[in-house]
Symmetry: C4
Subunit: 214 residues, 4 copies
């Protein structure tokens, strides 16, 4: 029996890492790929973001439903640092996969400047709301969690000036694409800092103010 | 024991007030922010309203799911006057947050004229339907309530000439933005009056006609 | 006791009639109102129909969830003839309400020609699918029924050449609007005939072929 | 008793074949019909694909909910080869029905070239994700499966360069339409090969890596 438990443990950790890598990879393939598709098909900026929003929200619902029972479906260092290497690796692979699927150069750097106080405030607010949504639905059904997180991001793509990256691993990976969803690498660290501030604020708010009285 | 109950009571009231403020704030940030984003990205009025609709509906689903167990997730004086100050404060803060996230002047007044019999009828009908939806789903699961309220507003944004403010606190706060979702301050009181008439009609209809026989 | 039952019966019938009238009225207000709003805001025909689709689908979800426990939420003579007068009255009132909310002349006739074999085939197919959806989800939860019917109509607005009226009471009422969602009165009877043929085909298919073996 | 079982068996098989034919037929009518409608109404390529996406996703939700208890709601040889003839027959009938509903020539061939490594990678990835979604939600409620599959395809229409055919029977049938959703017949076999490779990869990944430890 003693020899079984470690093995199961390892297999479970391995499965979790695969799940976090695959899920974050699919998420980035969707974010970047749908941005390329949208830019190819229309010049209307709102329609482009609408298509990008739809693909991102739908993908989030699916990957949360699929991978929650395996790894918890985090896909985001701001929601727990345990899987950060798997998430970053998956995210970068997802960007490259999107490039390959659309016949673009696989390796590239982001070019879109995204900086300034308004952008950073947007990222802090976006991540605050995302982490609040995750903490506030933790006891609900998996379908409710998946719907809430997906719809939160659908909304936040539109109500923040930064289109809600809200995820440090996603931000890092999006600094590797010159397409619609990209960010200039030099602008990425400030985004990540703002995201951690937003996540911290949500944790504080949730545990200090909103949690059920004992 | 006697000293615990009041404390829990206060903490519960405090948590409810925070929940109503946060929820209404997020709602207004979404309504106003997505309107600014949409106006920045396209000149097509229908696409603008579509984006505004999507962000509003998605946010409503999320905030109802999140805050229903804490405060009941009203966010609307027409659905119960208990939290009116928290709702107004949250709503105004949400408008200002949206302005800040998009780098607009934080303090401003609405400029869009919204008046006349057709607009007032629209607000009465919009609020009638919203309150009917709230009352008619009271015994359903939280997910069903959140879906129904969100989808009702999604529809009502389109089938009323006023785009369904349907909420006096929201109306007041939207008189403080000159952007897509704004309303001229002088037009706000008539909107609120029409909303209370619609809410009253829904209460009457629901309790006198539709309620289950005893 | 004997005197209670009839009273409850009458109250239940009255409540059902109010529910069918209100529900069909809201549905038509949404169909016609969102069509007017969309035509006012864009010249892109696909965006117009997209907006009309969204409002119709969202409204269907809400009214089915709201009125199913009261009247069964039919809103359609093709799904049961019991409430046909309430449905027609509600549908016409809904069209007039939409006109009033948008400041249009309340009384009017449809002008859009919708005729020919392709249109009639479309209506038969649309109603076939709608009735199949209703029959096939009868044992599911109310939320599942509401989602399925709403999403069926969302799809059918797009995959039929007639944009899926699929409802004789709705067709009659839409012959009273010269706006986006209207139909010329002389074209309405053939639509209704096609709808009944489609409904009959679905009933036959469902009971003869698809029903569970005893 | 012995004479009842075979009869029930036959009836159940017949019902399954009808369900797979009807479901795949409705799916193709939706895919092709909404493509024709979208091309008729707008010149904006992104809006066209958005409409096509909406109709396809909504139809998938409905047919999975309807036919899952009868045949398992496969509609796709990549998800099990048992019903391949019914699926192909239904798919072709659906294409022809869409042509008839829009007054187009019923019999035709696809003309849109879809070939090259990027397209084939797209189909392999699209089918990989679809089969992973199907396997990963097998133990969830029917509503969750229907939502996950529909939303996966909604996303994949946008994040793959091929708009995710992800289904050999669908690919074959879409080689019979010269409209928006079509594919040139000579390009179909490579799509199908890529789809089977993607399906096989998903099966391997799911059983070797992701399955629950015993």
């Amino acid at each position: 029996m003693a020899s079984v438990a470690p093995d199961r443990c390892e297999r479970t950790l391995a499965r979790s890492l695969v799940a976090e890598t695959l899920g974050t990879g699919l998420l980035l393939a969707a974010v970047v790929g749908s941005g390329i598709m949208a830019e190819n098909l229309t010049d209307d900026g709102a329609v482009q973001l609408l298509c990008n929003t739809l693909a991102t929200g739908a993908t989030l619902f699916v990957i949360i439903l699929l991978f929650a029972p395996i790894s918890g479906a985090h896909f985001n260092p701001a929601a727990g640092l345990a899987y950060v290497f798997a998430q970053v690796a998956g995210a970068i692979a997802g960007v490259w996969l999107a490039h390959a699927m659309f016949g673009e150069a696989v390796f590239a750097l982001g070019v879109k400047p995204r900086a300034g106080a308004a952008q950073w405030l947007s990222e802090a607010v976006a991540t605050f709301g995302l982490v609040l949504t995750i903490l506030g639905t933790a006891n609900r059904s998996r379908e409710a969690i998946a719907s809430a997180v997906a719809l939160y991001i659908v909304a936040a793509y539109w109500f923040t000036a930064s289109t809600s990256f809200a995820n440090p691993a996603v931000t890092l990976a999006r600094s590797l694409t010159p397409t619609f969803a990209g960010i200039a690498p030099m602008d990425a660290p400030a985004f990540m800092a703002a995201q951690f501030i937003g996540a911290l604020a949500a944790l504080t708010c949730s545990y200090a103010v909103l949690r059920q009285p004992d």
